[in-house]
Amino acid sequence: MSKEFLMGNEAIALGAMAAGVKVVAGYPGTPSTEVLETIAKRNDGSIYVEWSINEKAGLEVAAGAAYAGARSLVTMKQVGLNVASDPLMCLEYIGVKGGMVVMVADDPGPISSQTEQDTRTQAFFSKLPLFDPSSVQEAYEMMIEAFDFSEKYGTPVFFRSTTRVCHGYASIDVKDPSEYHKYEVEGFVKDSSKWVIFPRLSLQNHAKIVERNITLSDVFSEYERNFIIPESSREHRKGIATHGISYCYTMENLDEGNMLRTFRVATPHPFPEKKALEFLEGLDEVLCIEELDPVIEKELIFICGKYNLKTKILGKMTGNIKTAGENSVESVGAAINVFLGKETGKAPENDAPALPVRPPVLCAGCPHRASFYAVKEAMKGKKTLYCGDIGCYTLGNAKPLDMVDTCLCMGAGINIAQGIGHLEPDTNCFAFVGDSTFFASGITGVINAFYNQANMTLIVLDNSTTAMTGHQPHPGTGKTMMGEIVSKVSIEKILRAIGLETVETVDPLKLNEAIAKVKEVAAKPGVKAIIFKSPCVAIIKPTGKNIIDPEKCTNCKSCIKKLGCPAIILKDGRAAIDETLCTGCGICSDVCPFGAICGGESNE
């Protein structure tokens, strides 16, 4: 044992390593990404680690490894689970030989996600057991336990945590590599009555899964992580049921003199019914403090009905806890006060001056800014549709670019553009897609467009990385998580192979050429594509800095109004370039009508 200061996701990674994980796959997504990255970083070469092209691929790779008897892990964010749902739902009917953990990070808030979906609810739907830790130390230990449960019961299990646990840090105790679980992998043993899903097998296994989950409910009632505190709380009439980070917020509000009987649920599915009955005994009222769905709340209401208990269950469905957004120490404190009939002190009046709002923006020098600007300029005065997608380039929606009319989920923009285009033949339909998104779920959309005779321009924003989630490699980069250099998958060749006749690769930072190319390509019929290729500035050395020549500058502010580059600021009422931010991309010099912006010092 030794102490390490770890991020929750690093602890989850080390937990998996201590459990003897041999195959790890996943697709990046905040707040889950660091789990796989940590395993890759600490890998001594004995673990196979990959960034898969999407979550479905990752889950299937992990399933294969578990079929062969290895312990495997797949990581993703909550919406990634939607992509991986097809194999997951089926896999539960087949089961696994080696322990398999599906690590999913939920994001109450949502802080960096499209939805506030709750993987605990998905656990009920897919019938998988689920582990939900409250702290970094617990995440480490529960990961090891999750592998043991998975292997013992022959089922993949969910390990889900939320942003505040994934991205919280703590100094925790971890095992030394010599204490890691060691075993021999038997290998895949052929048996088509076991590994080939057919209706008859599904029927049989369905019954077994239901039975197993009844057993697991009892097992989880004895699992020490589903606990009731304080131990002697027989005199209490009011109780709290909670989970995850909300348990920590609850404890921040309670102390020894002011304790309520508290039930911490670490495995909401299968729900530890016997433990819940022990908790409910003698209680008049229970406040369920949860984030996302009212999972514990519904389970307790169900148990009260089943056992004819009079306990009143309060929570999200009674308006005691807010239905959306994340909890905080303060919101939980206020809810507990209402529950106990106490007043919450009023928040002091806010007389602060108006604070600048800081929406996230494309970095200074981001090539996406140039790409969006080029299309905007080229299409000036025309009827257009700009379908966006998920990535840094979603930020192209902000003013002054204002180049994202729709955004739904990864890869959707290409198909949405077709749907609108079939109804509006006079609209110039564009779909913007990032390189990582293209590989993850864009290709099928292009085939759909080509096959079904759509009329649209595809813009691939190829910045040679998966930027939004922290710069992961992808098939177009030619690097893998095992550190190998492999042949790059060419987006251009894929598009040509589909049948597209017009596929142009253009450097967006050569702004005037880019504008001309867009005009030319957009005028052609059918499905055509432009690949804007220029690396994300966060992964390259900036080329230099631009400066504004005060002699030539008329202070028309065009550069500010057209580009929205964070490096162009107002200083004493005049446009100025913040040299700590400028990367020297140079597009502002093309935009300035007076030629007042030019390359200053260069790094070359």
Binding site: K3, F5, M7, T30, P31, I111, S112, S135, V136, R164, H167, G168, Y169, A170, S171, I245, C248, Y249, M251, E252, S328, V329, E330, G333, A347, P348, A352, P353, L355, P356, V357, R358, P359, P360, V361, L362, C363, C392, L395, A398, K399, P400, M468, I560, K561, G564, C565, P566, I568, I569, L570, D572, G573, D578, T580, L581
Partner: protein, 190 residues
């Protein structure tokens, strides 16, 4: 009781290294640490905060409102934003250099931060305003605001750590060629 420290600023300003140094220094002293960091979309120019809780007695990695012993702000408006977290008699160390949001430039606002530091001086008994432009020029680097502010925080209030602790954390975390620069920044404000 834990010591609660909030670091705040704008994505890209380097709050993360300061937070790393504090936690590494605490770990080396055998003190339990919990912390939380803004990660994700907001790092692209949005408001970012780190919460650091040193010592026993903390459940949540996030500091409750009104419980921060010190706020180390890399930007004046961000200090005002986080003010509700400061405890009574808490300390604020604030960099006076404003970071103008793109929206402000577009809207023609000339936000320059002075309104923020003036407001803070009315509200906070123990306020230190740091002119990082001047300090960076004298130290010859614009990349040491984090250590500069950390140094000020440690000399102004008791967070259970000494400059010596931070110095050895720098020794372990920061590449060697930057050591002397960082040490000078740490001591720059006394």
């Amino acid at each position: 009781m834990s010591k609660n420290i909030i670091l705040c600023g704008v994505g890209g300003q380097g709050t993360v290294l300061a937070s790393k140094l504090l936690s590494a220094a605490s770990m080396a002293k055998g003190l339990p640490v919990k912390s939380a960091e803004t990660i994700g979309m907001a790092q692209r120019g949005g408001s970012v905060t780190s919460h650091i809780r040193i010592g026993e007695g903390a459940y949540s990695p996030l500091i409750p409102m009104g419980k921060a012993d010190v706020i180390i702000a890399f930007e004046p408006a961000e200090a005002v934003r986080m003010l509700p977290y400061l405890k009574k008699d808490g300390v604020i160390i604030v960099n006076s250099r404003p970071v103008m949001p793109v929206t402000a430039a577009l809207g023609g606002s000339d936000y320059n931060g002075t309104e923020m530091t003036e407001y803070l001086s009315k509200k906070v008994g123990s306020l230190t305003v740091v002119d990082s432009d001047k300090a960076c020029e004298e130290l010859g680097s614009s990349k040491i605001i984090n250590v500069l502010l950390l140094g000020a925080a440690i000399s102004r209030c008791d967070i259970g750590l000494l400059k010596e602790d931070i110095r050895s954390a720098i020794g372990r975390i920061v590449p060697e060629k930057f050591h002397s620069l960082n040490f000078r920044a740490l001591d720059y404000l006394g």
